[in-house]
Each structure stands twice: as structure tokens, then as C-alpha cells.
């Protein structure tokens, strides 16, 4: 099988990312960010900054269109106008000949702030009489709240019936009612956000670290009151995404700076700005109530969650401004009644956004931990509780969907089979094993386009609209086109083209890229066969065929805990994954391993430490991503033979293995120590303190 099409260029350092764009006459922008949480902007003194050698201009909201933008709720200003709402918010921009000169001048921008009481706690923010982060959030375009909602509500979404859930809880033979907490965390892509913009002959040229070039184009057009055809977004490689590279973010500002200065402008943020001022994961408190009968058969699940959405809601794309993972609580199981109630609050902290399977890791940690606590009450093994409740083929799930195929039991068995045998642990340490279960449907909504053209040498040029975020999508495009066209892979040249050369693409994300490529490639192959005398064909698809395919992912973690210090060592993580056909085995396997490594980070390492409205883990020295030394041995077993999405018979892989890991590890720590950690990350200090408490209060076995 031919290697990935981007491998040689990436290994030689030849691949171009947004920040590698160099244009003649290009200058550099640096942001001035708010040092305060919540304040009126009293005024600016730009004199000293403008006097710094090399400075071309210093700009504020007065130089920007009076507009707010966002993916659904349009509440984000291009530069703060009148008020700042979080530490790190953009208040001014300096453009200079060099980045160093711009950084020097940015330090000399004097902003007067008249501080306001900050809103720091999501639950308190939703109480009557709370200080408002936004005066009238219901007036923003796309808002899903009304004047009747608590003033700091970004969204309030419920499912199921509370009264029914409460009644079933009261009638359950066994019940748990526990609250779990998860911190904010950054997506951890290693390419800081970057944008280059230039105005050439009236057309705006953009290079941005954004996975949705067509959305960037359309959002820029809306922000700057231009026609989309006046804007071209150029292809660049994306240096990691995981939900964080679809923001639009600094792009409207960068374009406006290029228009104001008449020069090409590069705006590349430093990583510490990225950590503290982009769109990290929502921090959450989740109260889980679960009830079952005497035999451990689930009767009811109720999840009440409050999520901290930070200062702006504009990074959430869904129509309800919610996070899909919360509404899917309990989806792997047969549960007669599920009720969820999720409120997302505005606070004076960094605005939150999507991260790989939005809210699913948080929800799964909470629900799967609660199920272990319930199993303890029933007196059955945690695995047995899952076995009795996993959905079977033909049964509708909690949303009333009957999957074409449902292989939770098989996936659980595969995980248990692969996890047989003991993992060696240090002498004297406590050992335990935990399980975590997740299922995720494969999205069938695809909107993209593709052009095939004959080349002089007999090869075929395949122009794609979707960026390569690292998942191997362009390699997959080549493979399925070559197969469809019946030609060798090395005769198909896949090229990512600027936005003016193809009709549209929705962007990478939502685990839907391969499904979209499969559909558009099938259409292109057909058009190619019917092309007659033409030497090129362009096809566009826009499908939304609902969902009837799901994938189970069951993880089993083995851990050892040092009873003297609370140190946790994850000895092994086994992942069993329910798959159909696999287009690119190497890339598929990296998606699974990389996901588990990220799940491990969420479980044991990563905490953005947002306290008192401020991100304290402001560098990668404090916000710890898993390294080669951290990632435990990973074993993956594929449950093959699955039935996936036509025409390629595939299932999504990108947002599975990062989800149940924290639950599996938390459950393993509880099995090892008899103490339950209900907040992440699980640190030695937390475990040690819990062990001390257990020793002094219950005379427990540890």
C-alpha cells in the first residue's frame, strides 16, 4: 500500500502551514490583551506604542466594523468594544515591520480599565440577581435564550421528563446520586493559531490555521460586508485540530488590519495566548442519578449538568448551542427513562468551545463512574452490570433510534479477551481494573465538492476542498478515487485547492470527513465515466441521511497505586473498537492510539486550572500533554465485520477512544483503593488525600 501522500513533505519539513506563509512586504500583528476579567474600557493612550520604531499602526475597536461574529450565537467582537469580559480578550492590535517591534509596542499600549465585579462561578452566574456578563445576550443574532432566562444563560437544553425520572428513581431498588467535576482543558494542537491576510487587486487573500476554509470565507464576508467571491482562502496544512481550529478567531481582525495598512499582515499568536485565550473545553459539574432494579437492570438515568461557557458563546456551532455529548448520556444502554438538563453559563473567563467529541469525555466519565458505584450497591461486578444493560440488536436506544447493527456485547467481550492476564505492578502497590463504555454514531451529513481533471501525462488530478488536519483524509481520497476509477494510486494526484476553485466544503470535523469523501468520490467517479468529451468534471454533494450506524468502544484500564504516596501508574489500556471496513489501516490505528493517549491526558494530567477567572496553566510546562514517557502501553482490538455507511462500508474513528478512558482509569483506581475520585485529573495528591480520609474514617482495607 502506498504511504500517506503527505509523509515525505512532512518528514522533510517542506509542508506549509499558515505561519509559514511569507509574502513580499508582509508585516506582523501582535495583540494587546485584557489583563482584567471584567471592565469598562475607559480609554486608550496609543502615543508611546505608535512611537516605537517599525510600528505601522495601532488599532482598536474604533477601526473595526461594528459587528459581532460567531459560529451560531454571534456575540464575539473583532476587538473588545467598550467592555472586556475575560483576561486575554483582544483589546488592541499593533502592526509593525517585525514581530519583535510589534511585541515591544504592544507593551506600550496604555488602556484604562474601570473594573466591574466579575462573574466567576458558572452555578452562581445562573442565580437570580447575578452580575451580567452581557447586558442583553438574547439580542445577539443566533441566541437561543430569552429575556426570561437567567441573564448569564448561553443555553439551557433538556431531554426526557424530570417528573418521570424522579418517580422511577424513587421506585428503584438501588440508586446512586453523585456529582462529578471535570476541568477545562486545551485541545493541545501544537500549531498555534495563525493567519496571514493580503489585499490584492481588490481580492482578499487569506491563509489561516482553520479546518473550514469555506466557513472562514463566508464568515469574513458577513463580518466585513463583502461578497464571498471577494475572498479567497488558500490551502494550508493544519497543525492539529481536535475541535480548536474552526473558530474564525483572529481571522476577521487580521483581514481588517491588512485592509487598514494596505500591507500583507501575519498574525501568529504565541502558544501561551493560545492556551489562555482561544476556546478550551467546557469545565463542568455533573450530578448523576441512576437507578436500577434488584438485579442491576437500569430503570432510569438523570444527569443535571452546569457547564462554564466563559465570556462568549460564539464558538459552539450547534443549533441549540449545546454540547452533543451531554444529550447522549447513557446511550450505550437500555434505559427506560433518561432525563438530562444542561445549562451553559456565561462567566468572565476564557470562552469555551469544542474539543474532540464535545462533552462526551466529561459525560462518560461521570456516568460510567456512577454505574460502577451503582454496581457496588447491587453487589455485582461492574462488567456484569454493563453486560445486563448494554443495548442489543433491534432495541431502540435512548433517542428511539434502532441501529442497523448493535455490537456492545461483542465489543465488551473483545475487550475482556484482550485484557486477559495480569500486568506486572511494583511490589506493595495496590492494583485494580476498570472499564469504560462509549458509543458514537457515524454522521451521514456531508457537504463537500471535488473536481477531477485529466493531466497531460495520463494521470488524474483530484482537487479536494477539505483541508488535511492530519487524519490522512487526502490519502484516503486518493485511495478511494483510484479504486473507483480503476487506476493505480500513483496516477491520482490529490491537491487541496483555494476556495474559489470548488463550490463548497463544510470543513473537517464531527467524524464525518471520510463519509463525505466516500460520497463525493462515488459521485465523481460516476461523472467521470459520463464525461464524454470533457477533460474535467466537478461534483458537489449535500447529504443529510440521518444516523443509523453506531460504533462501540470499550476500554479496560489496569492501574497500580502506591498506597504511601497516591501515585498512579496506568499499566495498560485495552481498547476494543467496533469497526466496519478500514480505508487506511495505519491512519485508523493512529486515530485510535492518539485518541487513547488524549483520554489518558484528560484522566491523569490535563487541567487548564481556571481559577478566579484566570487560566493558570498558561504554558505547556504547566498544562501537561502526555509525552512518550506518560502514555501507557496501549493494546487495541478491532471488532471486525461491522456494517457501516455505504458506499465504502465505514464507521467513524476520530472521536471514540478519547472518550471512555477517564472513566476506565477512575474505575480502576477505585477498584484498587476502595476510594472514589470524582474529579479530574486524577492526581497522586487527590488519591493520597482520599486514602488518608478512608484510613481515618472507615478503617478501610488500605
Amino acid at each position: 500500500m502506498a504511504p500517506r501522500i503527505d509523509a515525505v513533505a512532512k518528514a522533510r519539513g517542506a509542508t506549509r502551514y499558515a505561519a509559514d506563509t511569507m509574502l513580499p512586504g508582509m508585516c506582523h500583528a501582535v495583540l494587546v490583551r485584557s489583563p482584567v476579567k471584567h471592565a469598562w474600557i475607559g480609554g486608550f493612550d496609543l502615543t508611546a506604542a505608535r512611537a516605537v520604531p517599525g510600528v505601522i499602526g495601532v488599532f482598536t475597536a474604533n477601526d473595526m466594523p461594528e459587528i459581532t461574529f460567531g459560529r451560531r450565537v454571534k456575540d464575539i467582537p473583532i476587538l473588545a468594544r467598550g467592555k472586556v469580559r475575560f483576561i486575554g480578550e483582544r483589546v488592541a492590535a499593533v502592526v509593525a515591520e517585525t514581530r519583535a517591534q510589534a511585541e515591544e509596542a504592544a507593551l506600550r499600549v496604555d488602556v484604562q480599565y474601570e473594573e466591574l465585579p466579575p462573574v466567576l462561578d458558572a452555578t452562581a452566574a445562573l442565580e437570580p440577581g447575578a452580575q451580567a456578563v452581557h447586558d442583553s445576550p438574547w439580542e445577539y443574532p443566533g441566541a437561543v435564550v430569552t429575556k426570561a432566562d437567567p441573564v448569564n444563560t448561553q443555553s439551557h437544553v433538556t431531554s426526557g421528563d424530570a417528573a418521570e425520572a424522579n418517580e422511577l428513581l424513587a421506585r428503584s431498588a438501588h440508586m446512586v446520586d453523585k456529582t462529578y467535576a471535570t476541568p477545562s482543558g486545551h485541545q493541545g494542537y501544537l500549531e498555534p493559531q495563525a493567519c496571514v491576510a493580503s489585499v490584492q487587486d481588490g481580492t482578499i487573500q487569506v491563509w489561516a490555521s482553520d479546518k473550514s476554509p469555506y466557513r472562514v470565507r463566508d464568515e469574513l464576508a458577513a463580518c466585513l460586508k463583502l461578497d464571498p467571491s471577494d475572498i479567497v482562502v488558500h490551502p494550508v496544512a493544519i497543525g492539529g485540530d481536535f475541535g480548536g481550529k474552526g473558530l474564525i478567531g483572529e481571522t476577521p481582525l487580521c483581514v481588517q488590519l491588512a485592509r487598514l495598512t494596505g500591507r500583507p499582515v501575519k498574525l501568529a499568536v504565541r502558544y501561551s495566548e493560545d492556551l489562555s485565550a482561544t476556546s478550551p473545553r467546557h469545565s463542568m459539574a455533573l450530578r448523576v442519578r441512576a437507578g436500577c432494579d434488584r438485579d442491576g437492570r437500569l430503570q432510569v438515568l438523570r444527569v443535571d449538568a452546569v457547564a462554564d461557557g466563559g465570556a462568549y458563546a460564539g464558538f459552539k456551532p450547534r443549533v441549540n448551542v449545546d454540547l452533543s455529548g451531554l444529550g447522549d448520556a447513557g446511550s450505550p444502554y437500555r434505559i427506560p427513562a433518561v432525563h438530562t438538563d444542561v445549562r451553559i453559563a456565561y462567566t468572565n473567563s476564557v470562552p469555551r468551545g469544542h474539543m474532540r467529541a464535545p462533552a462526551a469525555p466529561q459525560t462518560t466519565f461521570a456516568v460510567e463512574s456512577a454505574l460502577d458505584e451503582l454496581a457496588l450497591k447491587v453487589g455485582i461486578a461492574p462488567v456484569e452490570l454493563r453486560r445486563r444493560n448494554l443495548l442489543r440488536g433491534g432495541e431502540p436506544n435512548i433517542h428511539g433510534i434502532t441501529w442497523a447493527q448493535c455490537r456492545g456485547q461483542e465489543t465488551l467481550d473483545a475487550a475482556l479477551g484482550a485484557a486477559s492476564g495480569q500486568c506486572p505492578a511494583p511490589a506493595g502497590w495496590l492494583t485494580g481494573r476498570g472499564v469504560g463504555v462509549y458509543d458514537r454514531h457515524t454522521t451521514r451529513a456531508a457537504r463537500t465538492s471535488l473536481r477531477l481533471a485529466a493531466e497531460d501525462d495520463g494521470g488524474i488530478r483530484a482537487e479536494v476542498a477539505v483541508p488535511e488536519t492530519g487524519t490522512g483524509s487526502h490519502t484516503v481520497a486518493r485511495r478511494i478515487l483510484a479504486e473507483g476509477l480503476g487506476v493505480p494510486e500513483d496516477t491520482v494526484r490529490v491537491v487541496h485547492v483555494p476556495t474559489d476553485e470548488l463550490p463548497y466544503d463544510r470543513g473537517a470535523g464531527g467524524s464525518r470527513v471520510s463519509v463525505g469523501l466516500g460520497a463525493v468520490a462515488a459521485a465523481a467517479v460516476k461523472a467521470w465515466a459520463d464525461r464524454g468529451e470533457q477533460n474535467a468534471v466537478t461534483v458537489e454533494i449535500d447529504d443529510d441521511l440521518g444516523a443509523d450506524v453506531t460504533s462501540y468502544c470499550v476500554q479496560i484500564a489496569d492501574v497500580a497505586v502506591d498506597p504511601a504516596t497516591g501515585e498512579i501508574r496506568v499499566l495498560r489500556i485495552v481498547s476494543a473498537v467496533d469497526v466496519a471496513d478500514i480505508l487506511n489501516p495505519a491512519a485508523h490505528s493512529m486515530q485510535l492510539d492518539g485518541g487513547t493517549a488524549m483520554g489518558y491526558g484528560f484522566a491523569c494530567l490535563e487541567d487548564l486550572q481556571i481559577e478566579d477567572g484566570q487560566v493558570w496553566s498558561g504554558t505547556l510546562g504547566e498544562f501537561k500533554l502526555p509525552s512518550t514517557r506518560d502514555v501507557p502501553p496501549l493494546d487495541t482490538v478491532l471488532v471486525t465485520g461491522g456494517s457501516g455507511i455505504a458506499p465504502l462500508n465505514i464507521k467513524a474513528a476520530g472521536e471514540l477512544t478519547n472518550v471512555p478512558t477517564a472513566a476506565a482509569i477512575a474505575n480502576a483506581v477505585a477498584a484498587a483503593t476502595n476510594v472514589r475520585v470524582r474529579s479530574l485529573p486524577i492526581r497522586a495528591e487527590t488519591v493520597w488525600a482520599a486514602l488518608q480520609h478512608e484510613r481515618t474514617t472507615t478503617g478501610g482495607r488500605v
Binding site: A11, M22, T469, G621
Partner: protein
């Protein structure tokens, strides 16, 4: 100040401020293969070799390379083709932003510990973060490079 040093095997002369970082100076010459990630010497994306030792060019002051022998991924790819081949064959990358640093680190590994076994390889690459892959294919690439 004027700096004279070997860059990818060729003598180069350039001007750099006394507080300029090596990553910026290298990138300003058009060698954009070297990436700035964390900007504080933690992630390893900016790794280059100075006198055949791996350094974080985001923290390394440019004046310190005066008279030294500096290799970036572009030159290392020519000097250590077996390392590039190993990363390609093992598909030791996804988004690729950390890859130039990983390649540089593995080149240094082949010089420093040519007989390293897996635990030693993992320890050596501990300073090169990757958010995409989970490291299995990167470690496999390093092994393949040492075996080549």
C-alpha cells in the same frame, strides 16, 4: 550583530539582534521547516541540531551559534535520508507540525545512541510532544531509523 556559522553544511553570514531566538533567525532565512510550538522549550517542535546536539531553537539565543554547526530538518533530511525514509515507511506522523522536531531528535539519537532499545528511545524522545499519534508510529520510525 553579525553571525557566521555553518547552516546545513554551508557557511552563512547574517545579522541578528543580541536577544533574537534561533528559531526566528532560521525561519527568516526561508527555512520554515523548523516550527515554533510552545515557545518555551517544552514541546520539541523547534528542535534543531547545534554541533550535533539537539536544542530547542525557541529558547536558544541566536548569537550562541556563531561559529557553530547548525542543522535544521531541511539539511538533516539530506544528511540522514534513512531517518526520513523510516518516518515515511512507518507513517510516523499525522498533522506533521511536530515532525521536523521528531526527525531532528531521531537524527541526534542515531548519533548519540545508535544501539538504543525501545525504553531508551522513548526516554530520548520524551521532550518531543505529539498530540495526534499516541507515539507508537514515531517510536517505530525511530527504531527503523536505528536499524537502517
Amino acid at each position: 550583530m553579525k553571525l557566521t556559522f555553518h547552516l546545513n553544511g554551508r557557511m552563512i553570514e547574517l545579522e541578528a539582534g543580541p536577544t533574537a531566538f534561533l528559531v526566528d533567525v532560521l525561519r527568516s532565512t526561508g527555512l520554515t521547516g523548523t516550527k515554533e510550538g510552545c515557545g518555551m522549550g517544552v514541546c520539541g517542535a523547534c528542535t534543531v541540531l547545534v554541533d550535533d546536539r539537539p536544542v530547542s531553537s525557541c529558547l536558544y539565543l541566536a548569537p550562541c551559534v556563531d561559529g557553530a554547526d547548525v542543522w535544521t530538518v531541511e539539511g538533516l533530511a539530506e544528511r540522514f535520508p534513512q531517518v526520513v525514509d523510516a518516518f515515511v515507511a512507518e507513517e510516523g506522523m499525522q498533522c506533521g507540525i511536530c515532525t521536523p522536531g521528531q526527525v531532528a531528535a531521531v537524527c541526534a539519537l542515531t548519533l548519540e545512541k545508535p544501539a538504543a532499545a525501545e525504553p531508551e528511545i522513548r526516554e530520548y524522545l520524551n521532550g518531543n510532544l505529539c498530540r495526534c499519534t499516541g507515539y507508537q508510529t514515531i517510536v517505530a520510525a525511530a527504531k527503523a531509523a536505528l536499524d537502517a
